[in-house]
C-alpha cells in the first residue's frame, strides 16, 4: 500500500513584485517561504510540524491544501501525483484533503449559523447526503455539541465550541487527511485536552492521516507519531517524535525542547538560551539558517547548508555539529 501523503522537495516562492526593493539592489526579488520540504504521512498516523512564527509552517499547510502557490516539488496523494492549477496552486481532491484553520471563529462566515456552516461541505460537493441540515446535526453530535448549537452564530460560540465546529466541518466529508493549523491556539489548558482527545478519537474512528502544525511542543508530544522541526522554511530535524524528544540532535531542536518551562518548581530547568531572534526570510543567512543563533556554530556552518544525516533509521537531522556528540574544535 502506498503512502497516504507524500511531499517531495516542496518550495513555496513568493515574488516580491520587483518594485522598489529590486531598485535598491540589496534584496532578492523573491523569497522562499517553504524551502525544499519533504514528508510522508501514512493512514492513521499523526505528523507534527513544529516551528516558531515565521518559519513557514502555516504556508506549508496552505500549499498542501491548494491555497498557496507551489513553485517546485511534487506531492503524491495515495500514490498519485497531485496536479497544479492556476498560479501553480496544487489541486488536491477537496473531499479527501481537509484543512482546519488557526482562527476557529474567523474561519466561519459571521452571517451563517452553525447549521448552515456545517451543511456547506455537502452543498458544495452535492454529495449523496439527502439533507445537508440533518448531516449538520449529526456532525454536531459527533463533536459533542447539542442540537441547540445549530442556530447559533459564530460570535456566540466560545473558543472551544468554535473549535469543535471547525473540527466537525473539516471532517464532514470523511476526508483521508486533515491538516490542522494550531488546533489548540488560544484555548485554555483544560479545553486543549478536550480538542486533542476529540481529534485522536475521530482519527482512530476514521483512520485519518493527521498533519498538525503547532508551536506548542506539549501538543506534539502527546499526539504526534512523527515530528518535523521547521526553521526558516526548512526542516532541520525529522523523525519519530519520541526519539526526537528523548534525544534531539539539532541544537535548535534542543533549545526548543529545553525552552519548554515546566510548571514543576522543582524541575531542573537549564534552558539553552539562544541569542537574539530568528533572522527574517528576506535575508536568509548563507549556509545553515540557524548559524546566527547557534551555540555550536563553526565557520563551515556559515558557508554550506548541512545535508541530511541519519541518527537512526527513523530520525534524521541537518547539522554538522549535532548534539549528543562532543563538539569538535
Amino acid at each position: 500500500m502506498s503512502t497516504l501523503l507524500s511531499v517531495r522537495d516542496l518550495y513555496v516562492r513568493y515574488s516580491l513584485g520587483g518594485g522598489l526593493l529590486s531598485l535598491v539592489g540589496k534584496s532578492p526579488s523573491y523569497v522562499d517561504v517553504v524551502h525544499g520540504v519533504s514528508l510522508d504521512i501514512n493512514r492513521g498516523e499523526t505528523m507534527g510540524i513544529v516551528g516558531e512564527s515565521g518559519s513557514g509552517k502555516t504556508t506549508l499547510a496552505m500549499a498542501l491544501c491548494g491555497l498557496a502557490p507551489v513553485s517546485n516539488g511534487e506531492v503524491f496523494f495515495n500514490g498519485e501525483k497531485m496536479g497544479q492549477g492556476r498560479n501553480n496552486m496544487l489541486k488536491p481532491d477537496r473531499k479527501r484533503v481537509a484543512l482546519m484553520f488557526q482562527d476557529p471563529v474567523g474561519s466561519l462566515n459571521p452571517r451563517m449559523t452553525v447549521r448552515r456552516a456545517l451543511a456547506e461541505p455537502f452543498r458544495i460537493h452535492k454529495t449523496g447526503a439527502k439533507s445537508p441540515d440533518k448531516e449538520a446535526l449529526r456532525l454536531l453530535s459527533m463533536v459533542g455539541l447539542g442540537d441547540d448549537f445549530a442556530d447559533r452564530f459564530p460570535h456566540q460560540l466560545s473558543g472551544g465550541q468554535a473549535r469543535r465546529v471547525g473540527v466537525a466541518r473539516a471532517l464532514a466529508l470523511r476526508p483521508d487527511i486533515l491538516v490542522a493549523d494550531e488546533p489548540t491556539a488560544g484555548l485554555d489548558v483544560s479545553i486543549q485536552g478536550e480538542i486533542l482527545n476529540l481529534l485522536s478519537r475521530l482519527q482512530q474512528e476514521m483512520g485519518l492521516g493527521l498533519l498538525i502544525i503547532t508551536h506548542n511542543l506539549n501538543v506534539v508530544r502527546h499526539v504526534a507519531d512523527q515530528m518535523s522541526i521547521m526553521y526558516l522554511g526548512r526542516f532541520i530535524e525529522q523523525g519519530d517524535s519520541q526519539q526526537i524528544f528523548s534525544q534531539p540532535r539539532h541544537p535548535y531542536t534542543a533549545a526548543l525542547l529545553s525552552a519548554n518551562p515546566s510548571p514543576d518548581p522543582d524541575a531542573q530547568s537549564d534552558p539553552i538560551e539562544l541569542i537574539g531572534d530568528a533572522p527574517s526570510l528576506l535575508n536568509r543567512p548563507l549556509g545553515c539558517g540557524f548559524h546566527t543563533r547557534c551555540p555550536r556554530v563553526q565557520s563551515q556552518c556559515r558557508e554550506t547548508f548541512p545535508g541530511v544525516t541519519s541518527a537512526t533509521d527513523r530520525h534524521v537531522f541537518n547539522c554538522f555539529f549535532p548534539m549528543g556528540k562532543p563538539k569538535t574544535s
Binding site: E52, S53, S158, G159, D188, V189, S190, I191, Q192, G193, E194, L196, N197, S200, H215, L217, N218, V219, R221, H222, V223, Q242, A255, L256, A259, N260, P261, S262, P263, D264, P265, D266, A267, S269, P271, E273, L274, G276, D277, A278, S280
Partner: protein, 322 residues
Amino acid sequence: MNLPVLNIQDLSINYQTEQGPLQALRNVNLLLPAGKIIGIVGESGCGKSTLISAIIRLLAPNARIAGGAVVFRDRDLLSLSQEQMRSLRGDQISMVFQDPMTSLNPVMTIGRQMFDVQHHGNASRAEKKARSLMMLQRVGIPDAEAQLKRYPHHLSGGMRQRVAIAMALMAEPALLIADEPTTALDATLEVQIIHRLKELQHEFGCSILFISHHLGVIAELCDEVVVMYAGEVVETGSLRDVFVNPQHPYTQKLLECDPARIMHRTRDLPVIEGSLPNLVDLPRGCIFRERCSKSLARCAVERPSLAGDHHQVACHLLDTAS
C-alpha cells in the same frame, strides 16, 4: 515593616448587562509585597482582565465597582481622580501587554518614544538618550544605538516586546503589571524574556503582577501565585505551596490538565468537565461545585471563604480534613 505595594481588599466589580449585573469579581483579596512577583493563574472568564483594568482604572464603561479597595502603597486608587491616576500610570505603575504594539506608536521612532516616556523629571536630551541606550542594552537588544532610529514595524515581535519592557521599566515603577507578555512569542524567546524580566526585577526592585495562562512560565518567574476561578480567588500561596501541594480541587485539576506536566505520552488527556457558571445568575454555595468531583452537601449551600495563614484556600474539604 514595609508597606505592601499593592493591597486589594474585598474588591467586587459588576458589569451592567441586559440580563442584570454580571458579577465579574467577587470579594477579591490580593497582597503584593514590595519586591515580589505574584503570578495570577486562571482561565478565560476568571476575571484576570477585569482585575487589571480595575487596578489601572481603565474599566469598561458598563463596569461598576460594587465594593472594596485597591490600595497602592498608601493610597486607594479607586478614590483618585482621573488626573491623579494618569500621573501614576507610566510613572509608578507601568504595564506590559500581550501585544507590544498596544503600547508602541507605529509612526514614531523607538528613540523618540523612549525619550518621551522620560517626561517626568527634567533630564537633558543627552541624559535621556544615555538612559534609553542603557535600558535597551539591559533588555538584551543588540546594537541599541541603531535601534533608536528605527520604527516599531522594523523590529521582530520579540524585539518589540523587549522595547516595551524597557519603556515600562524606564520610570523605575514600583509596580509593573505584565499581562500575558510572552503569549505571542515563540518558546525560545519566551525563555529569554522571562529571564531578562527576572534579572531586571532584582536590579530595580519593583514588584510585578504577572498574568499568564502558561503555568510553566509562572513557575519559572513568580514567588507567589493567586489562582482565580469565575471571579473569585480560590487559592493563594507561595509558588511551591500552590504548584507542589495544591489544595483547591480547581487548582489540582488545572495543574493536572497542563500537558507540560504529563510526561508520559497519552491520547487521553485530562480535562475539566462542565463549563463556567453563569455570572449573572450565580449558583449558591461554592462556585466550583458543579465541576468538582469531591463536592459535599455543604458546598451546595454555603460559599467557602479563603482560610489559612499564608497558603489560603477557599474550600470546605479542608475543614473536614482538619
